[in-house]
Symmetry: C2
Subunit: 203 residues, 2 copies
């Protein structure tokens, strides 16, 4: 959408109704026809990009499941999708981050932000539960602290990578993040999968 294009190219402040209309190649009046106010437009854009990222991750996870990969590896691939390791994910991160910044003041945006984060956390918790069933995770482990930790690590690593895209102290970002993510997952997924019914992972 035009809003995201403007944000990633010229920053959030550059997003005006007139400019958005120009970017999309339509008139101001038509924008108003679809969105009564500017806030409504921004909310829609945030929702749009959030679900877009989410679907991309879901697709990646589905692919991993169909290849019958271990849950830990599927999860690692999904979480890596949130790290700004290439240009695409980097602009995506910029846009998401800009919206999250505004969400501090606009409750409607905050709701989307919180809901997105909650959904991600719930997905991770479900993956841990699945891991318990198939033997990758110890049976008497509470999935939620692990989910919070893994979600936090993903968020935090994304920030670190964004700020230092070239890595730290000569260690490339890709190696750094993948080794950290593997270690974090290894703290929870300690065993190997016995058998696993992939149908349970579907939403």
């Amino acid at each position: 959408m035009a809003v995201c294009e403007l944000i990633s190219n010229n920053g959030f402040d550059a997003v005006t109704v007139a400019r958005t209309a120009a970017t999309a190649g339509i008139s101001v009046g038509l924008v108003q026809h679809y969105f009564r106010t500017k806030d409504e437009m921004l909310l829609h854009a945030f929702h749009h990009v959030s679900t877009h990222v989410r679907h991309r991750i879901d697709k990646r996870i589905q692919a991993g499941i169909e290849h019958r990969r271990p849950i830990a590896r599927v999860l690692a691939a999904g979480m890596a999708e949130l790290l700004p390791l290439d240009a695409t994910r980097r602009t995506e991160f910029r846009v998401m981050r800009a919206f999250a910044g505004r969400a501090l003041d606009v409750p409607a945006l905050a709701e989307v932000d919180i809901e997105t984060a909650r959904a991600l956390r719930a997905d991770i918790a479900r993956a841990v539960r699945n891991g318990k069933e198939c033997g990758e995770v110890e049976p008497d482990l509470d999935p939620w602290p692990a989910a919070v930790r893994l979600a936090a690590v993903t968020d935090g690593l994304a920030l670190q990578v964004y700020r230092d895209p070239d890595g730290v102290q000569g260690i490339p970002a890709k190696e750094l993040t993948s080794s950290i993510l593997d270690a974090e997952l290894g703290a929870t997924f300690t065993g190997q999968c016995r058998q696993y019914d992939s149908r349970k992972d579907r939403p």
Copy 2:
């Protein structure tokens, strides 16, 4: 400063030169006398609040060192200072986050953001090195990946706590974060300090 007060009370968009002057009880002209442009004013405010937080953490760490606590525990206290677990830290987090959001578009703000993060990471890395010297950390461990991981966990946990201040699934935020931080530190600080018996500091 008046800028931070406005941000935390009314959001970043409410920060105008006129309103800032009114909040500070001075005239617009005087603000212009000190800061040639609004951006300059914001940059100064960001720098101000960043160093303020940093000094608070440093004080906390210094206190821990003087009490001869294990490095891991000193570090835990310092990192917890960045989590929005009470009203003070929450508004501080809001302000820092608002600036970080603008930093996506304003290079001068981004520089402060990056520099602050780098300094925190360097401090953690130094703590790990100190841990190696005194026996809390294995001698042949690279401090930087550990520092990146711990910094990322802190950032990420702060986000989680901000979004869900009451915790997750009935687990209070304070317990959740402290157990996660302890586990993360425990992954690096595996030994006990030779010089001091840390058992009396343990719960």
